[in-house]
Subunit: 740 residues, 2 copies
Amino acid sequence: MTTPKIVYTLTDEAPALATYSLLPVVSSFTKAAEVEVVTSDISLAARVLASFPEHLSEEQRVADTLAELGELTKRPEANIIKLPNISASIPQLKACIQELQSQGYAIPNYVDEPKTDEEKDIQARYAKVLGSAVNPVLRQGNSDRRAPPAVKAYARKFPHSMGKWSKASRSHADYMREGDFFSSEQSITMDAAGDVRIEFVNQAGAVEVKKTLALQEGEVFDSMFMSAKALDAFFERTLQECKEDGVMWSLHVKATMMKVSHPIVFGHAVRTFFKEVFDQYGDLFNELGVNPNNGMASVYDKIKTLPQSKQDEIEEAIHACYEHRPEMAMVDSVKGITNLHIPSDVIVDASMPAMIRTSGQMWGRDGKQKDVKAVMPESTYARIYQEMINFCKTNGAFDPTTCGSVPNVGLMAMKAEEYGSHDKTFEMKEDGIMRVVKADGTVLMQHNVEKGDIWRACQTKDAAIKDWVKLAVNRARQSNTTAIFWLDAERAHDRELRKKVEVYLQEHDTNGLDIRVMGYNRAIRTSMERMIRGKDTISVTGNVLRDYLTDLFPIMELGTSAKMLSIVPMLAGGGMYETGAGGSAPKHVQQVLQENHLRWDSLGEFLAIAVSLDELGQKNNNARARILGQALDQATGKLLENNKSPSRKVGELDNRGSHFYLALYWAEALAAQTEDAALASKLKPVAQALQENEAKILEELSQVQGQPADLGGYYHLDQAKANQVMRPSVTLNSILDSLK
Amino acid sequence: MTTPKIVYTLTDEAPALATYSLLPVVSSFTKAAEVEVVTSDISLAARVLASFPEHLSEEQRVADTLAELGELTKRPEANIIKLPNISASIPQLKACIQELQSQGYAIPNYVDEPKTDEEKDIQARYAKVLGSAVNPVLRQGNSDRRAPPAVKAYARKFPHSMGKWSKASRSHADYMREGDFFSSEQSITMDAAGDVRIEFVNQAGAVEVKKTLALQEGEVFDSMFMSAKALDAFFERTLQECKEDGVMWSLHVKATMMKVSHPIVFGHAVRTFFKEVFDQYGDLFNELGVNPNNGMASVYDKIKTLPQSKQDEIEEAIHACYEHRPEMAMVDSVKGITNLHIPSDVIVDASMPAMIRTSGQMWGRDGKQKDVKAVMPESTYARIYQEMINFCKTNGAFDPTTCGSVPNVGLMAMKAEEYGSHDKTFEMKEDGIMRVVKADGTVLMQHNVEKGDIWRACQTKDAAIKDWVKLAVNRARQSNTTAIFWLDAERAHDRELRKKVEVYLQEHDTNGLDIRVMGYNRAIRTSMERMIRGKDTISVTGNVLRDYLTDLFPIMELGTSAKMLSIVPMLAGGGMYETGAGGSAPKHVQQVLQENHLRWDSLGEFLAIAVSLDELGQKNNNARARILGQALDQATGKLLENNKSPSRKVGELDNRGSHFYLALYWAEALAAQTEDAALASKLKPVAQALQENEAKILEELSQVQGQPADLGGYYHLDQAKANQVMRPSVTLNSILDSLK
């Protein structure tokens, strides 16, 4: 057996920069446990370079580390710490290419409209680098997210603000009572592997195959549709009710995740709210290429080509709608950006927790907080928000100083439950029948649809479900916590899953565990009842609820979802520890370039490393690795408690100073532990040296701040320069070196 | 074995009068099944006469029928139809005595302040007749209440009005979060029979025995207290919140049932709302004998003796309170009667369903419906109303045309769970300790109390619980309906009951039944979820919830609780069938005396007789009795469907006409049934005769209306005269006679 390894990913921007400072600390400490920390560069620049080996010199060539990492995820020893990376847009990619070229890498330019075969080949290679290219390769498992004890302790000690709830609040969630995906959902489990066709049959009987899919044995396959008429009627009703009740109107969808279905839903809301405008100028808007699915921004953008008088006329018509419609929630009341401006501004999993945290209110045009009707067409998920709103009206806002936690075990592996994603979602162009047909012609499911209806299908593989159940049982056991499977007996898809869960639960030792299966309303209610009594409850959910709940509960408990421990226990047995829900923070890098202050908070990395060490220790019977991990958790706790996280202001403690304190507390914790006397005595002098040199090290770290820093690049840093910038304390460096 | 008998009680006022018309119909029909219907006079007059045999002549003497009936309840063959009777106040008793004396009964006068031994003896005998003297003797069992199918069908066909709920309603229930009975409740189960003492120990250590009770083995005994300080703080908070939120304030207690504790609670509300008035005029009010527990009416009443200028001053001070307090819900906005006027005006089990049925609103001073904070200090029960309010906000008002039913099986036998009744409830006169002590000095429970706190204890006998569980299982089996025991694991008393229920359920065959045990919130939520899906759910509850729920759900489902079938299956095996939740209706008798129109609706009697016949048939293998009962239910259904209930207006169909239709439909149903051909052929001519003479009979019945009627008495009717008034149709009488 080889030395157990932790793979630490090198990514982009702030987290990558912070790694120059953090990794030396980590490597020094882990060496003591004979744990090797290796790096894997999956930055945008590395991925670009790996795509064009033949354009590069021998020395310039880099391996396809992402592919290698993808292979590693299929091996049980995988232990990967995954930092946030750039999901590159085309402008970002072009900037990266330009930088690499300027550094002497002879890679080709990006071609917007390729013509030659060569150009087409180049574009195809770049296409693989664009967008969300990393997660699909690495996320080979389900999801396990929880608040680490140190973070929870911090929230209890330094609670975030929570808006008081009035028992007389008028706020509520509203959702469709008929005609939505929930009402029409059908679900089957494949008794044998086989192809299915998704077909549309028009009223003349013509059959169009929209898609053919190869399904596995035991795979759960769903289909459902949302009626466009019912959706429009629903929006109109909510607007009327808001007008009558004097309550502000707001829309909450997830256009980013449900990439195809939810922009269409959003478009219906736009057309309903501004009905008179679209009635009057519909033809003109079509000519101009206005797309209501892109929000009112699209209208304002496209009408710019019109004469000013026509623009004024349309804007007056828009204004007239505002006059007779209820007040609408604002995204930015200062800039006049409403809830219907662009579809990606208001994302339900972020907007609803924010609303609930803010006394159930949102901001009106006058910049004041107001009670609101939160309109969420899909009743499947909207009900949980209404349940929480009712709960807050009854019991008041959650109290971060006393409340329990709701960690999540989410079904995600093998693209499980990817609703509304682009390849199986269709907007109906005419009336007819949508059906799912087996290769032999057997019709498995069918729906009568009308023009404009949104039909979608969804796959969930048996192996993913099986693993999810195992993960839930393991998590319940390891955390010694009640676990609730959120599966609604009234929902077709969930009925199929309930059957499987029942079977798969029997494959595990659940003795002494409290594992329950409930519908969503009861599940969230039970979790909240336990939460306000200080008890933890694991939510074991499908993919969408995973996404929603890992924001909802953390925001109540911790004020943010960024501090959650986010683990992907891989199907093959390995583990990936994800960090930084906040993205790769380009603004932070700008601040370093301008004034050499890095405000990136490496808390997510601290937490991930600790759990990675613990996992590695468990798997390899390496007690020392576990001790290291536990000590790191203690150090993180102390760091939070003493408020040694980076400040936003130049001259104050930054990312590097925070890492010094982590090293200090980690060394102290290791020196103080009694399980491993040899380790303790090894760390004692380090702890002492760090204590004694605290002032000196801080001085060395802070004196570099305030002037521009040279990193030798943005996408592809000069390693020597970056090292110099990120490790300015000779004293700290030499103490760390003493551990090697 | 003797002929099975149904005992039909003769009581007072309208129901007694209606019996003159109804009973001949019933007796004629039951004779056909060899079922004897006998009467038992438990009217106030009969009970008075039975108390003074030595004052009466031989012929005038009557038996103590109530005592006889009490004895009958202890025998398995008991089958009693109990109509509403007068719970006599002293003025009513005096009027009754005077009437009897005028009829030649030489009974003694009531003596308000007895001096001689003879007078004391007289007063003692009259005391036994006063107040609620009948129910405690007859209610020897638990309670079984449900909506009969005919009534449910009527409600579905002719739904009562239900106020629409706004999702943005501000209405809510509010209750104490600490310091109430729920928070302090302690409960024990006696492992052996024995005496316990309720003692108060003051701060000097002096022990006062407040009460000694002989407890049975297995009896559950609870104690609890409500903190006066917490109660005042709670009222003040609710008032502040209403003021801030602009929501109307209302109080909902049950001063009539919780006779001792809740008037005190009410008094605290009065003193908090009108704090400045009581602060300023407290001493004066004490002198005058103002008792805030009797409401503001007591203030207005007592200050009448003051000079006008002083009265004006006090009224101004009261007015000033109204100015700075939130708006208060009105009992009668026209007369200016507020929620705090007298404690018996607003009774939670009636006021809350009314509020929920009225869009969650109550009436303000301006006579307009408004959203309201429903203040109910006891969190034990208030939570169910908040749950229903949240449910209505989310799902809209209940729909009587589709909703399911929530019948009740209530724990009531052997004075179970009589909370706040007078003999075990105490208002603390000073700080100290209240404790429950066994004869050997062992302290079973104790509470630190402060002056003003309300301490109370409660008994629940094992035999009653055992019977209640049996009744629940039987009801679940007979109705083939899911049953939920409402027992809250977080409540001390309920934890004791849960243990017993678990054990006693095993004594029954529950195979194939769906019997669940839940806390109140989940129980009501589950029941409501099922209800809106058209499903029935039996609520199996303690005594207070029995009282509350048998109003709450019927009012949603049927618009009234008066149409419920109300059965007391006696511990000894017999049954009592109670009718008429609406009391004995003195106003109805006035109308008869003035214009010979009786608007009393005998629906409750029809339902009770049917179930009494069915029960008797089952017990005695008398198929014909069961057929009679089933036919009566059909007849009742048809009567409701054809709207042949009594009208309120003279000249229209009254109680007697309604009885004609009952006879007609009953005869038709019996003639049409095929189970018993002999019975059918016997009834066929009766049905035909009634059909043919419909117009004639109605004419005979209606022509007597419009002029005064002579009944020869009010409390003690002249039987011949009453017969003449109530049976004016010669044609109907002779058709009925033909059955004998």
